[in-house]
Amino acid sequence: MSTDIEKFKAGSPMASTLRMDRMPHIWCPGCGIGSEVNSFAEAVKRSGVDPKKIVVVSGIGCTGRVAGYVNFDSIHTTHGRAIPVATGIKLANPELTVVVFSGEGDLAGIGGNHLIHAARRNMDLVVICNNNFTYGMTGGQVTPTTPGSAVASTTPYGNYEYPFSLPLLMDAAGATYIARWTSLHSRNVTQSIEEALLRKGFSFIEVISPCPTLYLRRNRLGDGVDQLQNYQDNSILKHGADTRETAIDYQGKIVVGKFVEKSKPTYLEASDKCCIKLVGDDYQLYGKTIPEREAEEKAEKERIAARRAAMQAEPEAQEETAAEPAKAPAPKAAAPRAAKTKFQSKVMPAKQALAGTKKAPAKKTAAPARKAAAKPVKKAAAKAPARKAAPKAKVLAGTKKTAPKISAKTKAVAKPAPKKTRNSSSQSR
């Protein structure tokens, strides 16, 4: 076993971006975080950004461990505080590219206040939010995004809170780049992270991801691959979608894509503008005038461009991309950049092979109006084997160990507290 690990460490294409001396990692088989980290590492490589200038900040939780595995300057902070720590880093040294990598419980639950304020300020941060609808590290409790009726260890009879739709929240708060993908869309995740690394302003990338150990198991939704199938069946690609229509119902449709990309001055740019008015042209921040900083930034941009060019010149063996189905047509609202970005259709050939399904009606769903788009997906879901997209009622009724025969109807629950509710999770806290 250990020799396998050594072999893996030596041969991994990610050896330069991951801390191989910290492998193996703690994440469960089927968890989506690992593939997000891979996407991130790949995006960093492709972006051409100097790895020395990247700082990764995480909060607490399963995703919070990302900071400990990536081979960049990295800070593992307290629960929910990754964003303010990242804010401090960015403002203390504007040359750094600061990435926050954390979970939805950390970012939108305990850290929700920081999340909205960083977006409001258009703080120049890349925020990658792994949204698995559960607090994994502590044993599968309900989170601010857990969809209605899902069972969690603290909602043993089904969730009855209203969840956040993170793209809507971020849009309202002022984020200037908002994308959502699922673990199935790893290339799109890479693409989005790459774009975010290269742009200025607050970028928020949500990745819906499976937690097989807790969320999926407790809801009898199968394993990680089953959930990928669900993503395939239920994802609707819609760049520029109205963020008010991105809510996620329990095992329901998931609108994915790049929803927002706009430009407005970042916190630092606004601060510079104010200070230069006040102090004059010799205004300095940390001993550097604005023209000096701009010149440095320009030089760095050129270096990035050169690295990117060198990278693209390399013969790319990964051109299985060519075999992929045609790109989904970019919607009208998508920013001009979208045209050149290689957004793929949600259907991933590898996963297709894995799941052994027919082509999902991806292309059709993406282009026409939302109403029309919603229908074929529903059909697809209905057609899918029960195991994969079982209606929630059935799932609940079918559970053996979770609360017997109590679905969304709470009445029955009131009296008999089920004795043998959870013998299941004994996660460390």
């Binding site: 200038k53 700082v55 593992h76 902070t77 303010p84 804010t87 401090g88 203390a92 921040l285």
Partner: protein
């Protein structure tokens, strides 16, 4: 401690008439602080306002965060990105900061936090004075932590001790807390800011050696270890988890003991070097008044009156609150008949005095909670009683 002359850009040399809050901001700027993140709260807000006003001309960054939790979190990030950092608050805000004060202790992040104490508990009396957060400063965060706390008694000392706080913080890589009070914070007095070349500051010490030898920590119970700066290419990792010297998580009982011992002994083991006291006629005194902050200035009147009555009274003013001057109290215990401890709380530091006196001298608490300074007469009465 290696020191250099202060950067003149942050030093507003000359005589000023300013309050303690403003003097704290000036002290920070003089010491080389170029990053301030804070949240408004009476009676500390003036420090933030002063820093915000001065930041553009000095070339510093000021940001008003969404709360105190975020403020201190931003300091941690900024400190590891290479800046000297500070914030200011009072009790309710300090309570929020306590979470990441623990992270700062654990990650050995230098920072200065001024707590301009107001009357509590809870929201209390925002505009009234207090010395009620003495214990919170040390025992606020969960787990075993050691911090340094200094207690100025005047606006001039607010300036001087803020510079000192930065120096200690940089050298020991520990949060240093300025425990002042509303009275000193809002009291206007003459403050003389020396020329920059007369202000000695400890510069940020960033690691610059070979990458394979780079360690963010060294668990030898000493100060003086370099920080690692983000962006320098060392790919450091820091965490609030129990960690090894590389900064990687290593949450075992054995490693926990190593880390906690280091954190505690780094301060306790160097207490003699850190502690500063202001003593007046303590040798041969029958009664020693132990006081700090604004209370020490009230006590002066009582001490003078008692001396006129022929009582041999000494004054021991605590400039350094934490680590506590165990040794000095221990030396005086048994020689003096009694310690008199006036403070604007229900009796906090008096417990430390009792502990260190070990029953060899009487310890009389002159506690005065509620939100006002003492009437000197009350302290005088206590001195008389102590002398009996």
């Amino acid at each position: 401690m290696n020191t250099v002359a202060a950067d003149p850009k942050g030093v507003d040399s000359g005589p000023h008439f300013m309050d303690g809050d403003h003097a704290i901001a000036e002290g920070g700027l003089a010491a080389g602080c170029r990053f301030f993140a804070g949240y408004p709260i009476t009676p500390s807000t003036e420090t933030a306002e002063r820093f915000a006003e001065r930041a553009p001309e000095v070339g510093a960054m000021f940001i008003q965060m969404e709360d105190e939790i975020a403020s201190i979190a931003a300091l941690i990030g900024a400190a590891w990105a290479g800046q000297k950092v500070m914030t200011v608050t009072c009790g309710p805000g300090f309570s929020l900061m306590v979470e990441n004060l623990g992270l700062a202790c654990m990650t050995e992040t230098p920072m200065v936090i001024a707590n301009v104490q107001r009357a509590g508990p809870s929201t209390g009396s925002p505009t009234l004075t207090a010395q009620q957060d003495m214990m919170q400063a040390k025992y606020g965060p969960h787990g075993d932590n050691a911090i340094i706390a200094l207690c100025p008694d005047s606006p001039q000392e607010c300036f001087d001790l803020t510079v000192e706080a930065f120096n200690l913080s940089e050298f020991y890589r520990v949060p240093v807390i300025i425990l002042t009070d509303e009275t000193v914070g809002h009291m206007h007095e003459k403050v003389v800011i020396p020329p920059a070349d007369q202000i000695k500051v400890v510069p940020r010490n960033n690691y610059s050696g070979p990458a394979d030898k780079c360690r963010p920590y060294k668990f030898d119970s000493q100060g003086g270890h370099p920080m690692v700066r983000a962006g320098d290419g060392y790919n450091f990792h820091i965490t609030g988890l129990v960690h090894n010297e590389k900064g990687y998580p290593a949450a075992t009982a054995e490693q926990g003991k190593i880390v906690v011992t280091h954190l505690m002994e780094k301060i306790a083991g160097n207490a003699d070097k850190i502690i500063r006291l202001d003593e007046d006629q303590t040798d041969g005194a029958d009664v020693v008044v132990v006081s700090y902050g604004i209370t020490s200035r009230i006590a002066v009147k009582a001490i003078q009156d008692a001396r006129k009555e022929g009582i041999k009274v000494g004054s021991l003013r605590l400039i350094t609150i934490w680590p506590f001057c165990e040794k000095r109290i221990g030396e005086l215990a048994g020689k003096a008949k009694a310690f008199v401890v006036p403070e604007i709380n229900y009796g906090q530091m008096v417990k430390e005095v009792e502990r260190c006196a070990g029953g060899r001298s009487k310890v009389i608490s002159v506690n005065h909670c509620g939100g006002a300074v003492h009437d000197p007469q009350v302290i005088l009465d206590a001195i008389r009683k102590a002398n009996q």
